[in-house]
C-alpha cells in the first residue's frame, strides 16, 4: 500500500503531530517504504494461528483492593510545565 500526502496528514492528525508541509511528501515516501517492507507478511499463511498475546504465556495477576498510593500531589505535579495550586493548567479546552 502506498501512502499519500493525505494519509500522512491523517496519521499526523491522529497522532497529534504537527508536520511541516514541505516534509509531507518525503514522509509519504518513507512511510510507503516501511509499509512495503512489512507487507511481506502477506505471503505468510497465518490461517488458524492465534495471535500471540503474551510471550510469557501467563495470565493477569491481580492485586488486593487496598489504597496504597496517592495523597502525594507533589510527586504527581512536580514536573508540571504549568500548574495552578494543585491543578495542571493547559490552554483553554473548547468543548
Amino acid at each position: 500500500m502506498s501512502i499519500t500526502r493525505e494519509t500522512v496528514e491523517q496519521a499526523a492528525r491522529l497522532a497529534r503531530l504537527t508536520v511541516a508541509d514541505e516534509d509531507k511528501d518525503r514522509l509519504a515516501g518513507e512511510l510507503s517504504a516501511i509499509l512495503g517492507f512489512v507487507e511481506q507478511l502477506d505471503e505468510i499463511n497465518t490461517d488458524n494461528v492465534e495471535p500471540l498475546t503474551s510471550v510469557v504465556g501467563a495470565t493477569a495477576r491481580m492485586r488486593k483492593d487496598e489504597v496504597n498510593a496517592g495523597d502525594y500531589p507533589e510527586r504527581v505535579l512536580a514536573n508540571a510545565p504549568d500548574r495552578v495550586t494543585d491543578f495542571y493548567a493547559v490552554p483553554k479546552v473548547v468543548e
Binding site: S54, V56, G70, R75, V76, V84, F87, Y88, A89
Partner: protein
C-alpha cells in the same frame, strides 16, 4: 404499552439502546492503589500511574473484577472466564495516558437480561449485550481562568462498568424504568452506589425511530452522559420527536453524538470539528489476558444477595402484599429491609400501609432520607403493635406518629405520657353512655327517629372519656342501646 409517536405520516416506533456507565464500588482504582473517595482536593487521589508518568504500569484490582462478575450474575449474564483489556486511543486533557483502558473485543460479562417494571403491573424483559470494565477519565475545569483549563485527575482510573443493553427499549418510560431497575439491582448487589448526582451512574442513550411495523433500524443518535432517570425519559421523548419531525419533513437523521440540556429540555448536537474518531483499539500489552476460574465465579454466585425481583415475589407470597405495594417496597434495598423489620411478627399489610403512607409522606415532606428517618423500623413496629392490640385507635396512632417523627420517642412512651391508651373495657364505656342517655332523654328520642344523630352520643362518650374510648366499642354499644 410501548410509547409510539403519531406523526403526520403515521405512527412511529421508538427504538432505544442504552450504555450505562456505573462506577464500581471499590476502595482503590481499577489499575492503581489511589483512593476512589469522592470530593478530595485536586490531584490528591492520584497515583503515579494515574498521571501516566513515564514507565508506570497498571495492576488490575481484583475487587473490581469481582464486582463486574457480581453485576453480571445479577443480570443473569454469561460470565466470560477469558477477557482482555484493550487500549482505546484518543487525546484529551483529562486522559493522561492518551488512551483509555477498556474491553472491546473480549468483555468480562456477556449476554444477560433485566426485567423492567412498567405502570399497571406490566413488566418486560430487556436484553443486555455485555458489561465491560474500563477506566473513568479525569476532570477539566473551564471556568476558573479566562485562558486556561485546569485538570484534576482524581477520577482518572476509577473503575467503571459499561453496561450495554440491546436495542430493546421502546419509549421514554421504558428507558427510565430500565435505568431505575438497573440502579436498583446494582445497589442491591453493592457494586455501584447508584448516586446519579455525583455521576456514579450515567447513561448514553441511543435513540432511533422507524415506521410502526418496520423491522429495520433507523439511523440512531447517541445522547451522552444523561445523569438522571427523569432526564433520560425527557431526552428520549425530545429526541424521538425531533427525529420524527425531521424524517417527516423529508430530512435525514445524522448519526452523531448529542447532549441533553435539562434546562431547555432538549438535545443538541455536539458538533465536533474532528472527523469520526478512530480509536485504534488494540490489546493492552501491559496487561496480560484475564483468565478467571469457575470457582472464583461460583464463590461470588453463592454469595449473591436476594435481588429486587425475588424479593418482590417473596413479599407478595409471604406478606400477602399486592404486586404494586411489593414493587414499591423493594425498589430500594433499604426500603425493603426497613419494611421487613417493621413487619416481622406483626401485621404485614398494616406495616406496608404505614411505611408507604405515613412514613414516606413524612420523610418526603421533611426532605429526609429513609436512612436518616427519626422513626426507626423498630419504633414504627412498636406503633403498629399498639394499633393491633387496640391500645390506641388508628386515628390516635397518626397523632402519636407525628410526635414520634418529631421527637424520636417510642410510641409507648408517648401513649403513656399523654395518657392516650384507649378504653376498650365495655363496662367503663357503658357506664359513661348510660349516664349520657339518662341525662339527655330528648336526644335519645331524636336519635331513635333519625339514626344519623347517633353521632352526637359518640362525641359525648369521647368527651367523657377524654377521647380514649375505643370508637368501635362505643358505636357497638350505642347501636345496642338506641336501636
Amino acid at each position: 404499552m410501548a410509547q409510539t409517536i403519531k406523526g403526520q405520516t403515521g405512527e412511529w416506533e421508538i427504538v432505544i439502546g442504552m450504555e450505562v456507565h456505573a462506577q464500581v464500588l471499590s476502595e482503590s482504582k481499577l489499575f492503581s492503589g489511589a483512593s476512589t473517595t469522592f470530593g478530595k482536593a485536586p490531584n490528591h487521589n492520584v497515583a503515579l500511574v494515574d498521571a501516566a508518568l513515564p514507565g508506570m504500569l497498571p495492576v488490575l484490582n481484583e475487587e473490581c473484577v469481582r464486582q463486574a462478575v457480581r453485576s453480571g450474575l445479577g443480570i443473569k449474564a454469561a460470565i466470560n472466564l477469558y477477557s482482555v483489556f484493550d487500549r482505546k486511543n484518543y487525546f484529551y486533557a483529562d486522559l493522561p495516558q492518551g488512551y483509555q483502558i477498556s474491553q472491546l473485543y473480549h468483555p468480562i460479562v456477556g449476554e444477560g437480561e433485566l426485567t423492567i417494571d412498567l405502570e399497571e403491573g406490566e413488566s418486560r424483559v430487556i436484553g443486555i449485550e455485555r458489561i465491560h470494565l474500563e477506566q473513568d477519565a479525569g476532570k477539566s475545569i473551564h471556568d476558573q481562568d479566562p485562558h486556561r483549563s485546569f485538570i484534576d485527575l482524581n477520577r482518572t482510573g476509577v473503575a467503571l462498568m459499561e453496561i450495554v443493553s440491546k436495542p430493546d427499549l421502546r419509549g421514554g418510560d421504558e428507558a427510565s424504568a430500565y435505568m431505575t431497575k438497573l440502579r436498583s439491582i446494582l445497589r442491591y448487589l453493592g457494586t455501584c452506589d447508584g448516586n446519579m448526582e455525583q455521576g456514579s451512574m450515567r447513561a448514553d442513550v441511543n435513540v432511533s425511530v422507524r415506521p410502526m411495523g418496520s423491522t429495520e433500524l433507523g439511523t440512531r443518535t447517541e445522547t451522552k452522559n444523561v445523569n438522571s432517570v427523569r432526564f433520560i425519559r425527557q431526552a428520549v421523548e425530545y429526541e424521538a420527536r425531533r427525529q420524527v419531525e425531521l424524517l417527516e419533513s423529508g430530512g435525514k437523521v445524522v448519526q452523531e453524538t448529542r447532549l441533553y440540556d435539562p434546562t431547555k429540555g432538549e438535545t443538541r448536537s455536539m458538533r465536533s470539528k474532528e472527523e469520526a474518531h478512530d480509536y485504534r483499539y488494540f490489546p493492552d500489552p501491559d496487561l496480560l489476558p484475564l483468565q478467571l476460574n469457575q470457582d472464583f465465579v461460583d464463590a461470588i454466585a453463592a454469595d449473591l444477595p436476594e435481588l429486587p425481583d425475588e424479593k418482590r415475589a417473596r413479599f407478595e407470597a409471604d406478606y400477602g402484599l399486592s404486586n404494586y405495594d411489593a414493587g414499591v417496597l423493594v425498589a430500594e434495598k433499604e426500603t425493603g429491609d426497613f419494611f421487613e423489620t417493621v413487619a416481622k411478627g406483626r401485621d404485614a399489610k398494616l406495616a406496608a400501609n404505614w411505611v408507604m403512607g405515613e412514613l414516606f409522606g413524612a420523610l418526603n415532606k421533611a426532605g429526609v432520607e429513609l436512612a436518616n428517618s427519626p422513626v426507626s423500623a423498630d419504633a414504627l413496629g412498636g406503633l403498629i403493635e399498639a394499633i393491633a392490640s387496640d391500645t390506641i385507635s388508628g386515628r390516635t396512632a397518626k397523632d402519636v406518629f407525628a410526635i414520634m417523627f418529631e421527637t424520636g420517642k417510642s410510641a409507648d412512651a408517648i401513649i403513656d405520657e399523654q395518657g392516650l391508651k384507649q378504653i376498650s373495657d365495655e363496662g367503663a364505656i357503658e357506664t359513661a353512655l348510660d349516664e349520657i342517655i339518662a341525662a339527655n332523654p330528648a336526644q335519645v328520642e331524636k336519635a331513635k327517629e333519625n339514626p344519623k344523630l347517633k353521632g352526637w352520643f359518640v362525641g359525648q362518650v369521647m368527651k367523657a372519656t377524654g377521647g380514649q374510648a375505643n370508637p368501635g366499642v362505643v358505636n357497638k354499644l350505642i347501636n345496642q342501646k338506641l336501636g
